[in-house]
């Protein structure tokens, strides 16, 4: 290596290290493209997401014999443009992914730090209570728990986010708790304590920043897990409700046309797969760059 990473600005060093992983860069490029697509859906999409073209129900995609460029990827059973709905679907899926990640991140940090912040019998009781609760959530298979939550609360986009957050929360809590515990034993924390740093400040400004690397990696991979789980709920009819353009729901709607119009089934799945693979590739790259200890050999 020409110049050692120490000479570089930390962000530059991070970027250089991230770029070593070709897959991660490709993943990142795709994620960027999907985010831009989701944000600019109104500008890019050729039609409205719920606009129906009665004269062109289940029109074939442009490359088929009877396809037209008006509907590049064809239309669904209600005559809505598939490309448009896929673009708007990116918005729904990314929103779910980011919302779940954001809420889990904040709650995970709060609960994880709460586990290790308090002293004495009360502290231990809090730690045991939170840890046991998280163990319980981990004991129930993810999708089954999400199904229970949605079945009880009723299917909707918001409840999908609630359900998937509950399922994903334990990973964040455990990660924060474990890394905070290992940091707490280190000299710099003792130093800060001796210097008179208060408990809240100690946790949030001294300990937490040093726990962030694995947490960021978990957050990135958590987005893709959330997108997959939300799409599965949508597919089972327990997620976002029609007419919302959500990839899982679109797949479920297309099931009955599996023989006649295979592209209706194929394309929403491709959208889910490409998004999830891209985020996972990016997450792997983040892990390699941020956390040399966890580096995949």
């Amino acid at each position: 290596m020409a110049d050692s990473p120490q000479d570089l600005h930390p962000l530059r060093a991070f970027w250089a290290s991230f770029c070593e992983n070709r897959g991660a860069v490709i993943g990142f490029a795709f994620v960027l493209a999907i985010v831009l697509m989701a944000l600019g859906a109104e500008l890019i999409a050729p039609h409205g997401p719920n606009e129906q073209f009665r004269e062109a129900v289940r029109a074939a995609p442009a490359w088929a014999d009877n396809g037209s460029v008006r509907f590049l990827l064809g239309t669904d059973s209600l005559g809505r443009d598939l490309l448009t709905r896929l673009i708007y679907g990116a918005r729904v899926s990314l929103f779910i992914g980011v919302a779940v990640m954001g809420v889990s991140f904040i709650l995970g940090v709060a609960l994880g730090l709460a586990c290790v912040s308090f002293k004495g019998a009360l502290g231990q009781a809090i730690d045991v209570a939170i840890t046991r609760l998280m163990d319980l959530v981990m004991a129930v298979p993810g999708l089954v728990l999400a199904i229970l939550v949605v079945a009880v609360l009723g299917p909707s986009l918001t409840n999908t986010i609630v359900a998937v957050t509950i399922v994903n929360l334990p990973r964040y809590v455990r990660l924060v708790r474990a890394s905070a515990l290992s940091e707490l034993g280190k000299d710099y924390v003792t130093g800060a304590r001796v210097a008179g740093v208060g408990p809240a400040r100690l946790m949030l400004f001294t300990v937490l920043p040093n726990c962030l690397s694995p947490l960021i990696v978990q957050a990135a991979l958590g987005v893709s897990d959330a997108i997959l789980e939300a799409a599965a709920l949508g597919f089972l009819g327990l997620g976002a409700q029609p007419p919302t353009a959500e990839w899982g729901t679109m797949l479920a709607d297309a099931r009955e046309f599996i023989r006649s119009d295979p592209w209706l089934v194929t394309l929403p799945g491709v959208a889910i797969l490409v998004t999830v693979v891209s985020i996972n590739l990016m997450g792997d790259g983040l892990r390699d760059a941020l956390d040399p200890k966890m580096r995949r050999s």
Binding site: A139, P141, L143, L153, L236, G269, L273
Partner: protein
């Protein structure tokens, strides 16, 4: 070892209590009148309401209700399904072998393919094979399996006609009473010509679909664990002795590389149950996953409550089993 076992089993007690609590609370959060929710009748008369309130114990205090619920569960009473008026446990036990058969076949597929593939990738680190396999592995564990299943049906079953589209056996050609509940075994016991082949034929596609995510995880885990082991001194010694590469990798290294892989296989059981819900729904596989989804559609809350409780119990018990096995293989865990 016995103390380790006891401690591990004791640790599940609070989890079970919490699980009871969650299912107890969940059914009370369902919007609507609790009697209506659990008896499934609308516009019920006042005296019938009072009758059912009493029968369901809803006129008792909440702690008493929870205690009653816990007592019922401990006596093996998981409630009665509204749709069929059968005990939830009876229904679950009748359907569970189908799920178990599917999950077992999926795991077999994942292990038999994943461990050799991961080992080969580690042995030729950086090669085209390694890179391809790792690419496939990322795709595999990112796979929306409900779509993967539909795609498999569309291509393998419909277009190429290689396998049946759904179900466990051709019911027109074969009929026999279930003995074990495992279709392949029952088909073999029935002695009907071609029955076993037909059952396997039905099993292969859903098993491959359900096994895809575990396959990706196992291949990846085997590879990284193998790479770690291959840099150990004893592997170098084995190489220095002049042993052929396949013996070094396949015998000396693999045995130690498999320890973390065994844990990962155990951890996949929960994921397998979740995946079974989707796979069974797509392939009309009459197991507990499909039954759970249908219960929601029928608003059969007692079945949902009992079903979640039972599926989770299975996963908790399997995890205990994995931990104990792991403790038996690796003394450091046992005494840690």
């Amino acid at each position: 070892m016995f103390r380790f076992l006891l401690r591990r089993v004791a640790l599940t007690v609070p989890t079970f209590i919490a699980l009871m609590f969650v299912t107890f609370v969940a059914i009370r959060l369902v919007p609507g009148d609790p009697v209506e929710v659990r008896v499934g009748e609308r516009g019920i008369s006042a005296e019938r309401l009072a009758h059912f309130r009493h029968e369901l114990g809803l006129d008792q205090s909440i702690p008493k209700q929870f205690l009653d619920y816990a007592t019922q569960l401990l006596h093996g009473d998981f409630g009665t399904s509204l749709a069929t008026n059968q005990k939830v446990l009876t229904e679950f036990l009748a359907l569970f072998p189908a799920t178990l058969e599917l999950a077992f076949a999926a795991m077999l597929f994942a292990v038999l393919l994943g461990i050799p593939a991961g080992t080969a990738a580690a042995a030729r680190r950086g090669s085209l094979f390694d890179q391809t396999l790792m690419g496939l592995s990322v795709t595999g564990y990112s796979m929306p399996i409900f779509w993967w299943g539909l795609l498999a049906i569309m291509l393998v079953a419909e277009r190429w006609g290689l396998t049946p589209v759904s179900g466990r056996i051709d019911l027109i050609k074969f009929y026999f009473e279930p003995v074990t509940g495992f279709m392949v075994i029952d088909a073999w016991l029935s002695g009907q010509a071609g029955a076993v082949k037909d059952a396997l034929h039905h099993l292969v596609l859903p098993a491959v679909v359900l096994g895809t995510v575990p396959l990706a995880v196992i291949a990846r885990m085997t590879r990284s664990s193998m790479l770690e082991v291959l840099s150990e001194d004893y592997v170098r010694t084995a190489r220095a002795k002049g042993l052929p590469a396949w013996r070094v990798v396949g015998l000396h290294a693999l045995r130690n590389a498999l320890i973390p892989v065994v844990t990962v296989i155990g951890l996949q059981v929960g994921a397998l149950m979740a995946g079974a819900v989707l796979t069974e729904t797509i392939f009309s596989w009459p197991g507990v996953g499909k039954w759970l989804i249908e219960s929601i559609g029928r608003r059969d809350y007692p079945a949902l409550q009992g079903g979640v409780m039972l599926i989770s119990s299975v996963v908790i018990l399997v995890n205990v089993l994995v931990d104990v096995t792991y403790g038996a293989i690796n003394p450091r865990i046992r005494h840690g």
